[in-house]
């Protein structure tokens, strides 16, 4: 990301200039209003009752994650590490299926909600047909924009809750719970990236007599593609987290076992699952930063 800083910006008073000052002031006021409204005070941050014991015990357990079960298990139970790996595998399965479905939804919707797409599509020849076309197009545009806003305005866990109520506990609910809001988010971000992509190569392709569809696909899309891929990768990381949390609603992902182990006060086991999740997220983040360094920016 390029920074638009210039020498003229370097003045300590710049921080207090322009609209930024009002937004800063607004944020501080809003935060105070929120704290008063919620009735939260820092004093409440001191754990009460057995809270402090739980905290100490739990944090201490972080240094020694469990390598084996903390309680007696029936003979023949798979070892803990196998269970952790299996939970991780299921987490990644829901993340990958949900994310690929989200991409299948988000890419076409993103294209259709970019203003670039509607600009590139060719105008009809006659005057009246052009106006009917324009009305129809703007109607479709507004409808699709509203649709993606709605899709992502509902959190994936709430989609999960709705789908669970409608369809019961099965993989279908988990996959769609991720795919719907993520599809909406991808669509929104893709459309912005397509609109912000440089247009010079598209204009050039237009000059060679290419059709509007060709200009969009081969002149504009390639310019936005690196950013779109990087963002998709980042969302995959988010999908892994979401998939883990879906376990709290009964799906057999990491969250399910975290909840179970925590309720049974097997804090060392909790950390084993948490470290598995953290490991995957860190690896994904590392790969994505490497990719951005070596491939996208040259």
């Amino acid at each position: 990301m390029k920074n638009e800083a210039r020498l003229s910006d370097v003045h300590p008073l710049r921080i207090l200039s322009g609209r930024r000052r009002w937004w800063m002031l607004g944020i501080v006021c809003a935060a105070i209003w929120a704290a008063l409204g919620l009735g939260t005070s820092p004093a409440q941050l001191i754990p009460s009752g057995n809270g402090i014991e739980i905290l100490e015990e739990f944090l201490a357990a972080g240094l020694t994650p469990a390598l084996d079960y903390e309680s007696q298990v029936p003979a023949g139970t798979a070892p803990l590490w196998a269970k952790v790996l299996d939970a991780l595998r299921r987490t990644l399965i829901f993340a990958a299926t949900g994310m690929s479905l989200a991409l299948a939804i988000g890419l076409p919707l993103g294209v259709l909600t970019s203003t670039a797409w509607w600009r590139e599509s060719s105008p009809a020849s006659s005057w009246s047909r052009r106006w009917i076309g324009r009305l129809g197009r703007s109607g479709a545009f507004v409808f699709l924009r509203a649709l993606i806003a709605f899709m992502r305005s509902i959190h994936e866990l709430l989609w999960a809750v709705l789908l669970l109520a409608a369809l019961g506990l099965n993989s279908f609910s988990a996959v769609w719970a991720i795919a719907i809001p993520y599809g909406g988010t991808l669509a929104k971000v893709f459309s912005e990236m397509l609109d912000e992509a440089p247009r010079d190569s598209a204009a050039q392709l237009h000059d060679t007599g290419a059709t509007s569809l060709q200009v969009f696909l081969f002149g504009l899309m390639p310019r936005a593609l690196p950013d779109m891929a990087a963002y998709t990768f980042y969302r995959l990381e988010c999908a892994v987290r979401s998939s883990a949390v879906l376990g709290f609603f009964g799906f057999p992902t990491l969250g399910y076992f975290v909840k179970l182990a925590f309720v049974n006060q097997h804090y060392h086991e909790v950390w084993s699952y948490l470290y598995a999740l953290i490991f995957v997220v860190v690896v994904l983040e590392f790969v994505s930063s490497l990719l951005r360094e070596r491939v996208v920016i040259r």
């Binding site: 390029k2 920074n3 638009e4 800083a5 210039r6 020498l7 910006d9 370097v10 003045h11 300590p12 921080i15 322009g18 609209r19 930024r20 937004w23 944020i27 501080v28 935060a31 209003w33 929120a34 409204g37 919620l38 939260t40 409440q44 941050l45 754990p47 809270g51 739980i54 905290l55 739990f58 399965i93 990958a96 299926t97 994310m99 690929s100 806003a149 709605f150 305005s153 509902i154 959190h155 709430l158 809750v161 109520a165 409608a166 369809l167 019961g168 099965n170 993989s171 279908f172 609910s173 996959v175 057999p252 969250g255 975290v258 925590f262 999740l277 997220v281 860190v282 990719l291 491939v295």
Partner: protein
């Protein structure tokens, strides 16, 4: 040049073409994992669409989602309005407000957490000679301290963002109890703090060194740089990221209530456990409305900040 020698030349050029093994490997790995995932027995889509499930689904859409107040009477808009208004007055308004307040407090706190981390994580600032990569005269001890600080703040930020808000809130709830909104606020603040720290660190690292170096040239050191260069130069972008995360904070705040904090999620969970699905859907839609409003505010704020 004859055609066969041209062909061998083209072939040689093709073999020597620059390729990123990393990119290739990542794409292959992701593609094969996705294929495996769809084929795995865990994703039994045929199983999902049994006749019983489909009947249940129809039932759910036709009856259970239908507003309770209207089930025994013919449909009227006034009846629908009275039902919705009742729920809004009873729990909707107060919990929507609480959701908003939780997210505002959380995002403000996360900015406070993220700011020092982001500065300490930036490799061009957190060294003994900030913004002057060519300076090599400082002591080894100083360098070690800065490197340690940089590593620690990066590691902390990674840990903060690697654990999902929901799990954090679940853990904090056990420690702090459900009486206050703190578990939700802290969970959101920690996770988003980790994300804002990374984004903010990138802003510092992408700073054009020239304007900052005019300050190091006249003897500015870390403290001076923060006040006179970093704050003014990074403020705009940090505000953009702040509002961008605020939007997601509102979404998350809705959900965290399901753990027992009084946001919309609490009542959603309540309706769910009572199997009042009509009420549950309405509450979800209240949340959706709030998110869309926050989305618009955030877009407005970002546009305004961009303009200066």
């Amino acid at each position: 040049m004859n055609s066969s020698s041209r062909r061998t030349q083209v072939e040689a050029l093709r073999r020597a073409r620059p390729r990123s093994r990393l990119l290739r490997g990542t794409v292959m790995a992701l593609a094969s994992w996705t294929l495996y995932a769809w084929a795995s027995p865990e994703i039994a889509l045929g199983d999902s669409l049994t006749e019983r499930r489909l009947t249940n689904f129809q039932n759910f859409i036709r009856e259970e989602l239908w507003p309770h107040a209207l089930r025994s009477e013919p449909f009227t808009f006034s009846g629908l309005w009275a039902w919705g208004h009742g729920i809004w007055n009873e729990v909707g308004a107060s919990s929507t407000l609480a959701t908003l307040q939780i997210s505002i407090l959380a995002i403000a706190l996360s900015a406070v957490l993220a700011w020092p981390l982001s500065i300490l994580a930036a490799s061009n600032f957190a060294t003994s000679a900030p913004f002057s990569p060519e300076v090599r005269d400082s002591s080894r001890g100083k360098q070690l301290v800065w490197t340690a600080a940089r590593r620690a703040s990066r590691g902390l930020a990674i840990l903060m963002r690697a654990v999902p808000e929901y799990i954090l809130a679940f853990l904090l709830l056990a420690v702090l109890g459900p009486r206050t909104a703190w578990p939700a606020v802290l969970a959101l603040a920690i996770h988003n703090g980790g994300i804002l720290a990374r984004l903010g660190g990138e802003v510092v690292e992408n700073l054009e060194p020239a304007p900052v170096r005019s300050l190091t040239a006249i003897g500015g050191r870390h403290g001076g740089l923060v006040v006179f260069a970093l704050i003014p130069l990074t403020m705009g972008r940090n505000l953009l990221y702040f509002f961008y995360r605020f939007e997601t904070c509102v979404r998350e705040a809705t959900v965290l209530g399901m753990l027992g904090v009084v946001s919309l999620g609490y009542w959603i969970q309540d309706a769910r456990s009572k199997q009042y699905y009509d009420e549950m859907l309405l509450l979800v839609l209240f949340g959706s409305g709030l998110v869309i409003l926050a989305d618009l505010t955030s877009a407005l704020a970002r546009r305004s900040v961009r303009r200066g």
